[in-house]
Subunit: 279 residues, 4 copies
């Protein structure tokens, strides 16, 4: 994606990549101000170290600026991320365009996951729902236009529009906070429509900061957290393996360079296995 | 207003006063940590000094927590204030109630103020608009309920609701940031519906922090700012008065205790009048 | 600890518990606004759910206000936590008292941990170092007083004081951000002197929000995170156990109520074990 | 100043301009997303409008990144600005260099301004103070080095250094928050040493965002605020002038293009003069 380029998303939405500041090198440079002259890590290893240990401030040194066009119900989730800058089109000043989001698939309420959706309705039912939604959107926009042409204040008229009408905003966020956004909004529990935008932002972030994003996914997206109790189960299992032929060192060897000497030590330490595993 | 008390606002909205932390005394105590042992100001004079000089951090030491029920278009303006904590009802988890805001007065678009409204429509036109809005709200909620009973996921169904549907949230903010909110949202340029809520929050703030609020209104709400050019006009006029019988000292005397000795000196200094006014 | 009570720490420091807002119940109440009418969890279970899933906003609804007296080198680490309110004594306004921190133990530089300390120096060496430090502190304060009595501006004179001179500040922070502070500053990698303060704040937080703190320690302090690679090792080990007599269900049973039915499902899911473990 | 260029300040300090994001045009572009299609202002006029009316969010769309080397007592004032990103050299990891700030002029404590300084000491007294300060700095660094060579942990040894030792940090801030920093730290009440840095940052900001900085100085730095009482005095004086030959329109004419038609209306309105001045 090039500066100024637009990527269309959903039926009427888009992301425009406006600008960014900083590269992987700038993250490393900021960190090296703190740890001056200490360590001879490569840039990539240092970024992995920072990410693993949640030294987040160097990642704040990079910025991304994009224009987002998305339905208002998506924007309302988006704006909950407070550590970002935002300028949104105002329906008090300007007439909003006739762009509404119509889902391509209508799905059932999930029963296990109270906030999500499960399998699609049957095709006939989907078509019925879509038709009714589309008609309602048209009625909304017709009433909006009628009120405007009748001289009603824009700030009043716009409130008859539905939550699936599109809005647009400039959004600027630093890389640390962008990663937090991506962690939450690329997650399968996030609503599908915001995930579409988050996925595209993730692509853009990979393009701009490949080392930082690789470390982010390795440690935080694909990693897991274990509670005190879960840690006990895991540690017990690992001890059992060590005593029954399936040694941890063998398991580690299968991972090759995915786990460094230093991280292996950290792993053994955090699972309290240093009495049985030599590092 | 007592803790737990609810004040109804608009047609279906309210503010519930949940909790607060700190009083005027706590503001003063925090400030006195900084200026230890310096000055013999009364509490009230110290609060005025802090407010006048924009020493804002002591005002951050107080907190207010309320529950707000307001239309979504109001909530969208509200949430732009980022330095606050918020938990809002989620339409992904729960069915939203059938509460929509219907304006009691429908007004024309303002022509001078591009974001506001001017005089009301004639009564017949108002009634027509209200009837159409109310019907559209009913259609919205009917479609929403039909979709829910047809098994459609809540997170999809809710998006056919209009921006004037009510939402509810817990909101917690410190006094400094609350004052910033009040400055913007009690202003005549703010949309009428959010001003209704802001006015009630202002009453509550006056009850909890009377000295701080008095100083806030005296210096910031009822005060004005002058640009470099406006300052020149004003200074010129004041000089002219001084030389033509209407002396500034006379004018000051009319204000009595509203302007202290110290503030009078600051006034003369900031208008570069110390060559003609002795302080 | 009661409101207004002071706990002395290090040689001249203290924490004074000034005020707080909210209890465990307020966290739950805020969360229930979002998930209205959904779930029949007990308060404790809901707090554990919020903590486990990093739904952090309800924890922002509680506040703690304390007065801290600590050495400036500790205050400099403290103030890096930006999401808090602070009023510190100003050496430009007031003469700072003659209070310097002298360590009770002088330790060697750690070699493995580049930022920490290892074993103590021998007793003679320790005494030498302490004597020299104390003399230097006295010289600092003497020069400071001489400059002040010579009429030198306070803002200049104070800069001859050393980083181990004590300062004092009011500090207010919400519970979510306090937990982040405690996670970092109770960690063995944090400098000993700030850990002394963090430990005491942790005690206070346990007193005020016992359920929230228990969940915090269970999931975040005593919990661990595993990278993508570490997750593979652990999952492999768990599969091996399951196939070699040491079943996971047995391991789980040892933990009793420490791991709920729901968390057990989450554990099996996050380690991709649902093909071999029935939940 | 070019990217990567260093400007030396005080005796051992500097600012290095590392990077920035955005120009005056980006501010305007962000604002125009909000006020789409409304108004035909020039870019410069729009920036003045935003600044005058404190529409601050478009100014957040620009960023500045610099490296600062300054004494710790300056850094402690600097870091009070929380809405910025920062990576500082850590004395726990690295030996700090032997750089201390020695004032070129030693001044008396101000008596009217409790936080400031007044006239210089006589030359002999200044030289005495400087000599003593310099000796104390040398003693500090000698003790620091002795402790380090005796094997004492860096995190302990560094605390014998004085508050005038230099530190260094990367600092990134958006333009809105930078202006707030400049307003406070270029002010004559700020300590001289931080003003030296703020003045240089102001030059850099003028180079990068000339229209925004001009508007900032016109409305906020050179502008003034009047309290409710001061406003009454000024309004009274202006009325008196209008009735005594010195008309406001004449005064305005002297300012030429410094005050637009629109601002003139705002001026008349905010001073409640619309009954006597036609606009």
């Amino acid at each position: 994606m090039k500066k100024g380029q637009r990527k269309n998303l959903l039926d009427h939405g888009h992301i425009i990549y406006v600008d960014h500041m900083g590269t992987d090198t700038d993250i490393v440079d900021a960190a090296r101000v703190s740890y001056r002259g200490v360590g001879s890590s490569t840039d990539k290893a240092l970024i992995r170290y920072l990410m693993r240990n949640k030294h987040t401030s160097p990642f704040e040194m990079c910025e991304l600026k994009v224009i987002i066009k998305c339905p208002i119900f998506v924007a309302r989730q988006w704006i909950r991320h407070r550590t970002a800058s935002l300028n949104e089109v105002s329906g008090r000043y300007s007439q909003l365009p006739d762009d509404f989001f119509l889902p391509s698939v209508i799905s059932h309420q999930a029963t296990d996951n109270k906030q999500g959706r499960s399998i699609p309705l049957n095709e006939g039912a989907q078509n019925d729902v879509k038709r009714l939604m589309r008609e309602h959107q048209k009625d909304s926009y017709d009433l909006y236009e009628d009120m405007l042409s009748g001289g009603v204040a824009k700030e009043t008229a716009r409130n008859v529009l539905t939550l699936d009408v599109y809005t647009e905003f400039v959004w600027k966020i630093d890389l640390h906070n962008l990663m937090h956004f991506l962690k939450l909004r690329c997650d399968p529990h996030a609503q599908y429509e915001i995930r579409v935008f988050a996925a595209e932002l993730k692509n853009l972030a990979w393009q701009l900061w490949p080392d930082a994003m690789e470390a982010f996914e390795f440690y935080h997206v694909d990693g897991i957290t274990l509670s005190r109790a879960e840690k006990i189960i895991v540690a017990t299992a690992l001890r059992h393996c060590e005593g029954s032929g399936q040694t941890l060192t063998d398991m580690r060897d299968l991972l090759g360079e995915q786990i460094s000497e230093r991280e292996w030590k950290e792993f053994v330490t955090k699972l309290d296995l240093s009495d049985i595993i030599e590092t």
